[in-house]
Amino acid sequence: METEKIIATLHPFERKVLPILKDESSFDKVAEKAKLQKVEVMRAFQWLENKKLIRISKQLNEQVTLGQNGLKYKSHGLPEKAFLQFVMQHEPCSLEELQKGTGLSREEFSICLGILKSKHLIDLEKKNTLLIRLSTQAKLEGKKASVLNQLSEVEDFLNKSFPIYTSQLKDDEKKVFEELKKRKEIVKVNIVKIINAEPTEAGKKIIGHGIEEKDIIGRLTPDSLKSGSWKGKELRNYDVTINVPTISGGRIHFVSQAIDYIKKIWLDLGFKEMNGNFAQTSFWNLDALFAPQDHPSRDMQDTFYIKDPGRGKLPKELVNKIRMAHENGWTTGSKGWRYKWSEEMAKEILLRTQTTVLSAQYLSRLKKENLPAKLFSVGKVFRNETLGWKSLFEFIQVEGIVVDPNADFSHLKGYLKEFFARMGYSDARIRPAHFPYTEPSAEVDVWHPGKKQWIELGGAGLFRPEVVKPLLGFECPVLAWGLGMERTIMEYYSINDVRDIYKNDIKQLREIKLWMK
């Protein structure tokens, strides 16, 4: 049963090759007998080996083929034979006569002379000039034919069917081969890999069982479908367990995938997306968020400022409210920061250090009838830091606000917990922190079960009335958070160097797994 099942998976090439291996082991011979191209036999060999039906052995061998002169001598005869025949007819003869008569080149001529001399077939006689005659020994041989036979072993060699392998040569053939190797361009020697195969026990079983010469279809073709020629024939079974070559395709970057996922969480929770510029005035990025102009937080953030244009325009209707909020708390009941607020400083252009700038801008556009409002953004923010294995100058912040007269601190905890649960963190906590624009302020940590420690992922809080009232026009609790994202991505992809997230290594982009959350 097993045997038949295997037979059904055999490709036509395998079907041709396997029975031949019963008597033949050499790759070349198999190819010849199977009447297949070598690549086809090679594939059949590999497939059969994968199925453990044959064992393949490879060895290096000297392969002999004929050179330029070898081919010439094979068709036109050996030069030494022509030489000897001339001597037999015209002896004694001078070297000049001989060379003219045979038409041999000077080089060939001297080789022939050497060969025939060493075989004692000719003698040299020195008179006025050098004369050549048949040797006494050759004369004793009598018949011409038998003299010439002395050269037949070389002729036989040349008449073999090439290529041949030195390992296959008999001892006397080896001698001839060694001689020929010394001569110019008669034989060529290459080192080649010899492939042999022999059936394994399983292979022998199949050969013994016999492979039916069936008309098997390898691939369905439009023609065979049109004509119906596939009918009554069998479609070859594949070995479906075999490995296939890898491919890769187009992809959305894994950071974009993660962003899409995070956006979907907030959308599912009923939030509306915010969007806005990267370049902002200090007014929106800092002053509207009640960061005093001399506060250490303004240096702490290591802000990128724009050289030119260096100053922007401020929203007229808000400038005075913000000024007063800073200087004396305006009508919020706060004492304010108690310093002289500078409008010029608020005009400075910077790259946003927090997407909270968007929250401030959206707050300023909200009306009472829009409440409750829940807003989010996932966007780039910038900090003037050097690029390092754990610091980027440009990264992604996940921002959210809930503007609702009935919202309170416990809801802040609720939203954060829900978000992180959907991000796959079983536990999230908040602990006290400080930001100029929130009160209470909280640091957000998530529990890392692998590292068994809390990891800081962002900040949160309720916007201070000094932030809300000037922007919104009335007081209202606003829950707010700004969370980092790169750390979660690093964890998910086991990336240790944060720069690798934006490395754009094409191999990485082709092979990295999808964001599977």
Partner: protein, 551 residues
Amino acid sequence: MPTININRREFEKYAGKKLPTDKLKDRISYLGTDLEEANDNEIIVEIFPNRPDMLSMQGFSRAFSSFIGVKTGLRHYEVHHSKDKVIIDRSVKDVRPYTACAIVRNLHFDNEKIKEVMDMQEKLHITYGRNRRKAAIGIYPYEKIMAPITFKAENPQDIIFQPLEFSKEMNGLQVLKQHPAGKEYGHLLDGMKKFPVFRDANNKILSMPPIINSHNTGKISEKTTDVFVECSGFDFEVLKKCLNMIVASLHEMGGSIYSMEILDGNKKSITPDLSPEEMKADISFINKWLGLNLNEKEIKNLLSKMGYGFKNKKALIPAYRADIMHQVDLAEDIAIAYGYENFREKIQPVATIAEEDKFEIFKRKISLLLAGLGLLEASIYSLTNEESQSIKMNTKAELIGLANSISSDYNKLRAWVVPSLIEILGNNKHHEYPQKIYSIGRIFKKNMSSDTGIEENEVLGITLASEKTDYTEIRQILDYLLRSIGVRYEPAETAHSSFINGRVARISANSKNIAFIGEISPIVLENWQLEIPVSALELNLTELFRIINKQ
């Protein structure tokens, strides 16, 4: 942010309780300070900028002791009256107009204590004092000083004294040039004809604030028992707070606080004033803000864990607290005392309508289309440099520069995306071709009609690198993309020195330029050491989206 590094045993003495390390770590985190390290010998804690009063061993352990319930409630700081005077001369009004001063007696200094005091002074300088700009602090051995003390401004050449840790006398200008503190803080006196100075009744110079004390009258030693403390600056309220933080800590070191009379023209003030400030604690507001249901007694108890008193529905704010501006600040302290970990996690049952930004949806659709064509998305920084944007691209892009980037590789906002993509190709030469990549990102150009003077557009950049890539291939992608979203376009010949002449086109739709496409010039390829042809496209998605919305 500043950290304090304190001896654990000393700390436990001040706090009045020993806690196991685990518990200690936990409580420090929930007090609103960031724990850096806690072992058997020392504790390192980061103090947030809103709590400068915690920037000393005494201040931090005071807060901690209340928080863990050992020594709760408002602390009373007795201020003895002294008739010693500090006179603010009119001359200093244009330079550094205010000072708040105190005397603390009966201290016992050793090297350790002297260092503690100097640490506190330095950390307050940096944080609450905004690097001495807003408040500068001087602490002097009072036995070497004779009251009344005058705060005045003088010609720098006339301010001749021996600055701290220097062996010779010099004048005010020389101090700025030669003394390390003068070099560091001299800019605070920029443009001033006269420098501020404290002199005692014998006309001895005590210091030249905000720079340096005198070596003779301004250096605390182990023999010192009484100190004169002054804070100088521009806002009397700020200086009084700063003074309170210092004298409260000195009091906890065992000192007795004595007030001084500050004579400012016709006005007489007595400093320090350590009586608590009152703020109405509106119970319903606090409960609503925090989502709690606390009664008055609970509020009182919680406030007392944060060092407050409570009387007649009013919170009594400790005089060293500088961060209580509004009731929400009380609410935060109540929340900390209540324990952030003890709040419930609730989600409001209100219906709001989710809405994704339309442009973001559009961008994702484009992205999916390109991925479908077998392109890989790259994720690229918005910051780059001129070499990449212009020089290697054989062109001159109009770039907006950053004023203060610490990296020369990233000191410009990009004007186009294609150079970054080509840079990626340059970094990936060892990987298999074809390499087809795209990126969607923001580009920047000057436009004075916008509020920031900068116009931002989102663009799509594509580069195709392969032996066979050409104008046709990249144009087919553009054609497919624009057909897919139903936008008709017109190609036109154009010149662009980053591309091969005659193989680059400008694309317009609705008579707006939206893209240019073509084969990258071999000059550019050579600049990036690329040995493979590249075709590229840069398409303005912001403009394209506008066109679609008009259609």
